[in-house]
Symmetry: C2
Subunit: 345 residues, 2 copies
């Protein structure tokens, strides 16, 4: 039987191991850490007992002494979201490689109560530092600033201008916008609309700016990165008789939602309307027609964020740590093309 019948099994303590081995806790401690020579015979005996008992030192007590938990945190708006899942994956990989544990926490789109809880994990020294990923916007960051004063914090995905001394990791969003814009412009389009992500995010602002290098007057509507918002925003455009032959999605999901809505309106993609996404999610190459998009390496954002954080942690400072901007890549597939003649137009 399991926990059912032995609910209050106390874990073994180092003292108990010491008693069983007939030595002091000092010697047990040093046997485990290897920080001081121990008689091989004694060491062997102790190790055997540790194995036999299944003894594991208490993490809290250990931390109380060393001041380090070798755990870092990752705060994301919603862990069930594909995008943040990829970031988490990358951060975990890197943390693992550097022998740190990673604790992932959802802020449920920046719910202040939740955020506070995670910030407190740093404050209470449960974790040594935090990778923070913004949800809707990066303005009301007073709490984060406070935490960053005394503890290492790295921003993943979104930089904050005001907090320029906090290292951050992001993709070349502006360049991504430019690539998409140039591509669509070359195809001969002149009337484009942008259905972007949250307006408060730097990434959104930058992507829009990049696109507008080629479509200076492009209408910008903001959604929430979900498929439904792409669908709805295109619906609004159509309902208002806005003329356009190209749509830039804030991400792939919004682009896919847009395609769905366009089709329902009897418009063909790409013959009548060109659609371009951002991210290059797995499904982008599977849908028909396959989605033209700007690929960013989201896992790498996670990896680099964790790396910067842990490096700063070990160095004791972010002095000399520089932020990371990751390259993006245009992936031309089938949702973009030159305008085809349409009898109805």
């Amino acid at each position: 039987m399991f926990f059912v019948t032995e609910p209050n099994t106390k874990p073994w303590t180092m003292q108990q191991i010491a008693d069983a081995a007939g030595v002091s806790v000092t010697t047990v401690s040093h046997t485990m850490s290897g920080k001081r020579p121990v008689n091989p015979q004694t060491a062997l005996r102790i190790k055997r007992l540790i194995d036999e008992f299944g003894y594991v030192p208490d993490a809290g007590a250990r931390r109380l002494q060393s001041g380090r938990s070798r755990m870092i945190g990752l705060a994301v708006p919603d862990i069930s979201n594909w995008y943040f899942g990829r970031i988490a994956r990358g951060a975990e990989e890197m943390a693992d490689e550097l022998d740190y544990g990673l604790i992932v926490c959802s802020t449920f789109n920046s719910d202040p109560r939740r955020e506070k809880r995670y910030f407190n994990m740093v404050r209470t020294r449960m974790i040594d530092g935090l990778v923070y990923t913004a949800g809707r916007e990066m303005n009301e960051m007073n709490e984060l600033e406070k935490v960053a004063l005394s503890s290492p914090v790295v921003l993943a995905d979104e930089g904050i201008n005001r907090l320029s001394s906090i290292p951050w990791v992001t993709s070349e969003n502006f360049e991504g916008g430019r690539l998409a814009g140039a591509h669509v412009r070359e195809l001969g389009h002149t009337k484009a609309v942008i259905i972007g992500g949250f307006a408060g995010l730097n990434s959104t602002v930058e992507r829009v700016a990049g696109i507008r290098e080629f479509f200076p007057n492009a209408l910008v509507l903001n959604g929430d990165f979900e498929m439904q918002s792409g669908y709805d925003l295109v619906g609004d455009l159509l309902a208002n008789d806005v003329r356009f032959t190209a749509v830039f999605g804030g991400n792939d999901l919004m682009a896919i939602g847009a395609i769905k809505r366009l089709r329902e309106a009897g418009l063909r993609v790409p013959e009548d309307v060109t659609v371009v996404g951002f991210d290059d999610v797995e499904i982008a190459s599977v849908i028909t027609p396959a989605l033209t998009t700007v690929r960013q390496d989201v896992v790498s954002i996670g990896r680099n964020s964790a790396r910067l954080l842990i490096e700063g942690l070990e160095a004791g400072t972010f002095e000399g740590t520089s932020s990371v901007i990751l390259p993006v890549q245009l992936v031309v597939r089938a949702t973009s093309g030159p305008l085809a003649p349409d009898p109805r137009r």
Copy 2:
């Protein structure tokens, strides 16, 4: 400036608050916990200082005394996977509602080193209990059994027969298979193939058994729940001239991969081949044709797992805790239909 310039800021201690307030730590402690009356004047003064200093009690020290961290863990094979992301989301919601913190950890498909790390988080009392989600199979579970002996563990998504005393939460997988099987059988199909998930998982076994109630001789191939494996397995079937008019996917992704491969072979869905998935992911209703599938409430699996765990934790035992089996639902869309006449057949 931030962490850059003040790397070694020590956090405030309760003693410092006590000194500043001219009281003992005892009084500060009781002011915070409310476990003993404190002079209102004094209490106010202390609270002000706590606010002013931004004091937060050390989590490790606290735990050392109380024996409780009010943190639970969730071990999943891969957090970047949609499915486990949903489970994590649900578990986090519930933990939050019950005032617990949730720590999510990827085992990277049951990498023993990683698993050990997370099991140790329970052993070292960093977390009070663990929700465990299996990756490929549920057989080599010796480590998990050991942990479950002394600490509360709940299995999400997969039960283990041998470990029947560990509570688990899962969907009605057998019933889901039956629903899908009955539906396709009613459409008049007689030759079906099953491209299932990992063979070592109970969920896979049960779904297959359900389908086979209606297609007793259906061929079963096993994949890994990824789109590519659905694509590849259908490729194998076609290359071997296996005759079938219906495909059951181990999940939606495999079904979508299957559809892609069928199309490339010139087969129409559903006119030539009916395809049914499992899960009902968001994209299922967006692809063309929209996917017929069995919907399961994955977030609910996460919610219930966390609930069972925390209830057991507070009760000090799983005595009387019963496992949870969540209902599923057939969602008929456009990838399933009666066989259409085909000149080539």
